[in-house]
């Protein structure tokens, strides 16, 4: 964390995002869940919750970097679907091949995004919208529009189903490692600071002689790679590569990033708060599932999409209000 001589928990949790409230909301929801549902605090629920949401957390972190530069990546959902198919095909060779393969497949789409945005100067949302389409088409082509079952004989499925050192599932451990590494990159390296500077003012970053293009290539590669990793998790967790998955994932990721206090226009952001945002969004669905289970409400799967949109709407309203009050204060 910039500047503090001792470890500053507040700074760590919030980064320089504008919203420490996400942690409070998260804590409140957890307390609510613990009080209301018997099995909420069970090891099973916690582990399966984290396991399922690891995909969204990893995508949100990648998205966070893109948004901090003032860009956007709408392709993450289809890229994850594409990567899940690739990973499923590679699964007979084991996790050692399938995992890097999936991540590389995702990063390849990230490279296409970076090329379109930086070399061809196409606005990020158009470029990534096009890759969304291309990745979707690509996933359907290589899978023949079928879900591709993974090889259950190899060690591939252990990723989602077995625990590292008998404590936590591998996916959660990997997400934690990725999050910590990226936190260090953002807070402690020149590259991370350049990412934030670009979002603050790209012109100024250029005039300061920062390596703007390198940082932009990095964020789109990262976002693609994160989406690829999420695809690997998807394939291992559900035992199949799923070319039709990923619809609306970009929305979840954007919502998580924004609720974590990252400015949509870039320049300010936090990895830790983004993780909290992703957990918060996941928890909303977790609690809705519990309510469904208790029979107090009965929501079809279609409500998920409505709720995701509604969640983003509320978050944006909050951020708008926050910005307005900040401007008044300034």
């Amino acid at each position: 964390m910039p500047g503090s001589d001792a470890f500053d928990l507040r700074q760590f949790l919030r980064g320089d995002g504008r919203n420490a409230g996400v942690w409070i909301a998260l804590a409140a929801l957890i307390l609510f869940g613990l009080a209301r549902y018997e099995n909420f605090g069970s090891a099973y629920n916690i582990v399966s919750f984290l396991n399922y949401n690891s995909m969204f957390i990893i995508i949100s972190i990648g998205m966070c970097f893109v948004i901090m530069t003032g860009g956007i990546d709408l392709s993450v959902g289809s890229v994850a679907a594409f990567a899940s198919v690739v990973a499923a095909y590679l699964s007979p060779y084991g996790i050692e091949v399938a995992l890097p393969g999936g991540v590389l497949a995702g990063a390849a789409f990230g490279a296409i995004n970076a090329f379109c945005i930086i070399a061809m100067r196409i606005p990020p949302f158009i470029a990534t919208l096009a890759t969304m389409l291309a990745a979707k088409g690509g996933a359907l082509v290589i899978s023949g529009a079928q879900t591709i079952s993974v090889d259950w004989g190899s060690n591939f499925t252990k990723l989602g189903m077995e625990k590292a050192f008998n404590i936590l599932p591998w996916t959660i451990v990997i997400v934690a490692i990725v999050a910590i590494v990226l936190w260090v990159v953002l807070e402690q390296t020149s590259l991370g600071r350049t990412v934030l500077a670009i979002g603050g003012s790209e012109d100024a970053s250029n005039l300061m002689g920062l390596k703007v293009n390198r940082a932009k290539v990095f964020v789109y590669l990262l976002s693609g790679g994160c989406a690829g990793l999420a695809g690997v998790f998807l394939a291992s967790g559900f035992g199949a590569g799923q070319p039709l998955e990923g619809i609306g994932w970009e929305l979840s990721a954007i919502a998580s990033v924004v609720v974590g206090g990252t400015l949509l226009t870039g320049g300010l952001g936090s990895v830790t708060a983004t993780v909290a945002g992703a957990l918060l969004l996941g928890l909303v669905f977790n609690i809705l599932n519990f309510e469904n289970g208790r029979g107090t409400i009965s929501l079809s799967a279609y409500w998920q999409m409505v709720i995701r949109g509604g969640f983003l709407f509320v978050v944006i309203l909050l951020q708008t209000r926050m910005n307005a009050s900040r401007q008044k204060a300034g």
Binding site: L129, Y302, Q304, V306, L312
Partner: protein
């Protein structure tokens, strides 16, 4: 640099080199159209038949209608990702209304309501987008992303995710009727294009629209009601998307909330951009959007008719969008 000497002669004398990027930009659409038509005439079996024309007209109408709306939004330097979802919503509502008890009891009223209410709902979606963008200053991509996802979700919640089939000749006329032997929706698209063209070129709204897209601050300081103009553009876009949604339902005699208008936002953006709309705003080439829609449709048809899979067609479409924006983009530099 002496002021006053940047004479008019300069603009005139800038003759475009043959087949330069400039030529592509100004006539790229037409060139592409001719190339595709020539290709099809030569290689696609049964292309030069009336039936082919019918199929393409009935398919292109929906793209064209949405592309007209998208062109208006892009003219304000905005974007609307929610058009497909709005189509699904309007399309899901219509059969719900005329298949309801009320609709069965009063068929005429039911049909009327099945047109009016879905379009009203669509317009409300546009109003939501417009208010988010102009009053809350949310970026258009993000603001319309909300309905992009939840709009379709609402449509699916309403229909419980079921395919609603129906047989209602009055409603189906929208998708299957013919005037002078040509599909009704083709005529409808043409009439809407003329109306919007008139709106853009002859009315105060149209002039303000282009001014807001061309220089928002200047427009506001010259008295343009910037917020209202933007809201108007999004409402019109959503309204037109609603019409397109109804047409799709009428063509299929069935409403499928999961598929109606799926990926339409991409077709519409591509058509608008191929037709000459600038993402930076300030231009609203309505007939360009129609031309763009025709090209997009013909590309789809060409790939399909020559046995290329749907999935590969998606990739081709992605390439077209990137290429079209790239060519348009170069214009500003």
């Amino acid at each position: 640099m002496s002021d006053g000497s940047l004479s008019n002669g300069k603009a005139v004398s800038r003759a475009p080199a043959p087949l330069s990027l400039g030529t592509l930009r100004n006539h790229g659409g037409l060139i592409a159209l001719v190339l595709i038509l020539a290709f099809n005439a030569l290689f696609t079996p049964n292309f030069l038949q009336v039936q082919t024309l019918f199929v393409n007209i009935s398919q292109v109408a929906t793209i064209a209608i949405v592309a007209i709306g998208m062109t208006l939004v892009i003219a304000t330097a905005g974007i609307d990702l929610s058009v497909g979802a709005v189509m699904a919503l309007a399309g899901a509502l219509a059969p719900l209304i005329f298949l309801s008890d009320f609709g069965q009891a009063y068929p005429a009223l039911g049909i009327a309501a099945a047109f009016v209410l879905p379009l009203l709902a669509a317009s409300l979606c546009g109003l939501f987008n417009g208010i988010m963008i102009s009053y809350l200053n949310v970026q258009p991509i993000i603001a319309t992303l909300i309905l992009f996802i939840s709009g379709r979700g609402i449509a699916q919640v309403l229909t419980n995710g079921n395919l609603q089939t129906f047989s209602n000749p009055y409603f189906s006329y929208l998708g299957t009727g013919k005037i002078l032997g040509l599909p009704f929706q083709g005529w409808l698209a043409l009439v809407l294009a003329l109306a919007v063209y008139w709106l853009v070129s002859r009315t105060i709204f149209g002039r303000y629209l282009l001014a807001v897209g061309g220089n928002e601050r200047a427009a506001r300081l010259a008295g343009a009601p910037v917020r209202m103009v933007k809201i108007g553009a999004y409402v019109l876009c959503a309204f037109l998307s609603g019409i397109a949604g109804l047409i799709v339902v009428a063509i299929n005699s069935a409403s499928d909330a999961a598929r109606n208008g799926n990926l339409m936002e991409l077709d519409a953006i591509a058509a608008a951009v191929v037709g000459g709309a600038l993402l930076q705003g300030g231009r609203a080439p309505i007939f360009g959007a129609i031309l763009g829609a025709v090209i997009i449709q013909l590309v789809k048809y060409t790939l399909l008719a020559n046995g290329v899979e749907d999935e590969v067609a998606l990739i081709a479409k992605a390439a077209i969008i990137v290429l079209a924006v790239y060519i348009q983009q170069a214009r500003k530099e």
